[in-house]
């Protein structure tokens, strides 16, 4: 194996490691002999990442209250410059992951391979598989230099699985002086109250799109979601139009979902959207345009008016319960 050491950016909230981090660890330990994590957390995640195959936690201290992009990238770049770096750094396509990847890329003057859904070896180097045009075509990209490879990995690309490893050892990774780049601070955090299952984890997702016609009609999606214990989602078009918050967005720019069942109501299936939901086990689409691309990925497609089909569906389900 030519890839001997991989670092994975480990994100954690209140000591609980993010699922996306665990997914990437599962792939990383397949690819490299040594897998270590870099994190703004510390010893509190050592047992969990150890159980998923990491042997060392590289804890970047002093980041409390700071935006993490600059300090984490600074610490990683300093380690690379000192000759202690890995062959590749993997991170999730998350808010923090993207910030770190961008900063790090400039610091080591190396590109980032983004939107990766799989990692393979090509000519002795790690290469990323990226779906384009809504997942119709896969592009495999490798680096042409020997610099550290930076990869941004899309959520749900791999299945998180414990390896049964012991708790990882913990080592400090220091942050060099960041100057102005390290001056962004978080002054307060707001958690939006949400009821029902989360978009990430729901077994059933019901999403609405522009075909709903107007904002008030999104209620139909909410009602159907409630009846099916599903998470409500949305296409980018209606998020951009301000009908629902960004956190509802499924697609390239939003969440990647892989539920047992995905119901797309009034969504035409722009490539932007398909990338985020094409991996669903079953897909039902309702759209009035028979030519809509969403039907090409649907197990059941109803060519019809969502304003007629959804109320009848809701009524039928209410009658059963």
């Amino acid at each position: 194996m030519t890839v001997s050491k991989i670092w994975v950016l480990a994100e954690a909230t209140d000591g609980k490691v993010a699922t996306t981090t665990l997914e990437i660890l599962a792939k990383a330990r397949e690819l490299a002999d040594t897998v270590e994590v870099v994190t703004a957390s510390g010893a509190e995640i050592a047992a969990e990442v150890g159980a998923h195959g990491a042997t060392k936690v590289l804890a970047v201290g002093g980041t409390e209250g700071k935006l993490l992009g600059a300090p984490l990238a600074g610490a990683i770049a300093a380690a690379i410059a000192a000759g202690n770096g890995p062959d590749a750094v993997l991170m999730a396509t998350s808010y923090t992951g993207r910030d770190v990847a961008g900063r790090l890329s400039v610091k080591i003057d190396a590109p980032v391979i983004t939107n990766v859904v799989d990692l393979v070896e090509r000519d002795g180097r790690l290469a990323g598989v990226e779906p384009i045009f809504g997942g119709v075509t896969d592009v495999i990209t490798k680096f042409t230099t020997d610099k550290v490879g930076i990869f941004l990995v899309r959520p749900k690309s791999f299945a998180a699985e414990e390896s049964g490893g012991a708790a990882a050892s913990v080592e400090e990774l220091s942050v060099p002086d960041l100057g102005a780049t390290g001056t962004a601070v978080v002054t307060s955090r707001f958690v939006e109250e949400k009821t029902g299952p989360s978009l990430d984890e729901a077994a059933v997702v019901v999403s609405g799109g522009r075909g709903l016609g107007e904002k008030d009609n999104y209620q139909l999606v909410e009602d159907l979601a409630k009846l099916l214990q599903a998470a409500p989602g949305a296409s980018r078009a209606i998020v951009d139009a301000g009908w629902v918050p960004y956190s509802y967005q499924v697609g390239q720019t939003g969440k990647v979902v892989k539920p047992t069942l995905y119901i797309a109501a009034g969504i035409s299936g722009a490539t932007q959207h398909l990338v985020g939901m094409k991996g669903s086990k079953n897909i039902i689409a309702i759209n009035k345009d028979a030519e809509a691309p969403i039907f090409a990925v649907s197990d059941l497609g109803i060519v019809g008016d969502v304003h007629k089909v959804l109320p009848k569906l809701i009524e039928a389900l209410q009658a059963r319960s």
Binding site: L67, G69, A70, Y95, D99, A101, G102, R103, S105, V106, P111, V112, I113, T114, N115, R122, F133, V136, T137, D138, V139, I140, T141, K142, F143, L152, A180, T181, T183, A184, V185, V186, T187, S188, R189, F190, V191, E192, V204, A241, Y246, S247, T253, L261, I263, N282, I286, A290, A296, D299, L300, G301, I302, V303, G304, D305, V309, K312, A316, R320
Partner: protein, 264 residues
């Protein structure tokens, strides 16, 4: 309170997303040879910039963009919304530029645009969607950055941003100047007025080459990429399903499938 607020907005001119995309068979990069339009993702940053300048009571919005063939149609849209001027980097050497190459060019172009208090970008473009350019620009300019903004306010020399998070949002602060990426959909971009469209035709567009910016052309484009596409393959297609015309009973087909899948 700042009396003058100069904002640079990075905008991208992209192939119309309504047209199906295609790869150049020679290079495996996205074809960008047709008419280009303003990336809708960028219209939110332009709107936000115009509002910030209004609130400050003075200053102007400058656009920075790079595009092949001196393409300006997308820039004109943003100028018609109210931006004062633009710097356009257009150079055959840029073909095949990746995110890092793009950021190096944009960072120099931002410096050419003059002293900026704030630099706005979208969170990612609608055609390349790497999502790393805002942070790369910030690092190149050695500035603080706040990505995924949904609201921006300026108090004196302090930037206050509501930043999207997985759980909700964070209030984040940094000194100016800074780079901020604006989430799509957080403001309502204005429609250019007829007067605006007419005025945009005579607004200055400073068109420059890579060399004009003091960048070695071999450091950008294909040569400067540092990455290479080694394979392009058809992804596994989903097997087609059943498509039926709704005859008023279409909902029943859904109920049946829900029952079969044991969702109900």
């Amino acid at each position: 309170m700042l009396l003058l607020m100069n904002v640079v907005v990075c905008v991208k001119q992209i192939p119309d997303p309504a047209d199906p995309g295609a790869l150049d068979p020679q290079t495996n990069t996205l074809k960008r040879d047709g008419k280009l339009i303003l990336d809708e993702s960028d219209s939110y940053g332009v709107e936000m910039a115009l509002q910030l300048v209004d609130t400050a009571g003075g200053g102007e919005v400058t656009l920075v963009s790079m595009a092949p063939n001196g393409e300006v149609s997308g820039l004109r849209t943003a100028l018609a919304m109210g931006a004062a001027k633009a710097v356009l980097v257009s150079d055959p050497a840029l073909a095949g530029s990746d995110a890092l190459g793009t950021s190096k060019v944009l960072a120099k172009a931002i410096q050419r645009a003059g002293e900026a208090d704030l630099i706005l970008t979208a969170t990612e473009s609608s055609d390349g969607y790497t999502g790393v350019v805002p942070e790369q620009i910030a690092e190149l300019l050695q500035l603080p950055s706040i990505t995924f903004a949904k609201e921006i306010t300026i108090e004196g020399n302090t930037l206050k941003v509501q930043r999207q998070t997985e759980a909700g949002y964070d209030e984040v602060e940094s000194p100016l100047p800074a780079v901020v990426s604006v989430t799509a959909g957080v403001v309502e971009p204005r429609y250019p007025s007829f007067k605006g469209i007419m005025a945009a035709k005579s607004k200055p567009v400073d068109q420059v080459t890579v060399a004009d910016l003091g960048i070695d052309p071999s450091a950008v484009g294909w040569a400067g990429g540092g990455q290479e596409i080694v394979e392009v393959a058809q992804a596994e297609a989903r097997a087609g399903g059943t498509i039926v015309e709704d005859d008023g009973e279409g909902f029943q087909k859904i109920v049946d499938l829900l029952a079969e899948l044991k969702v109900i």
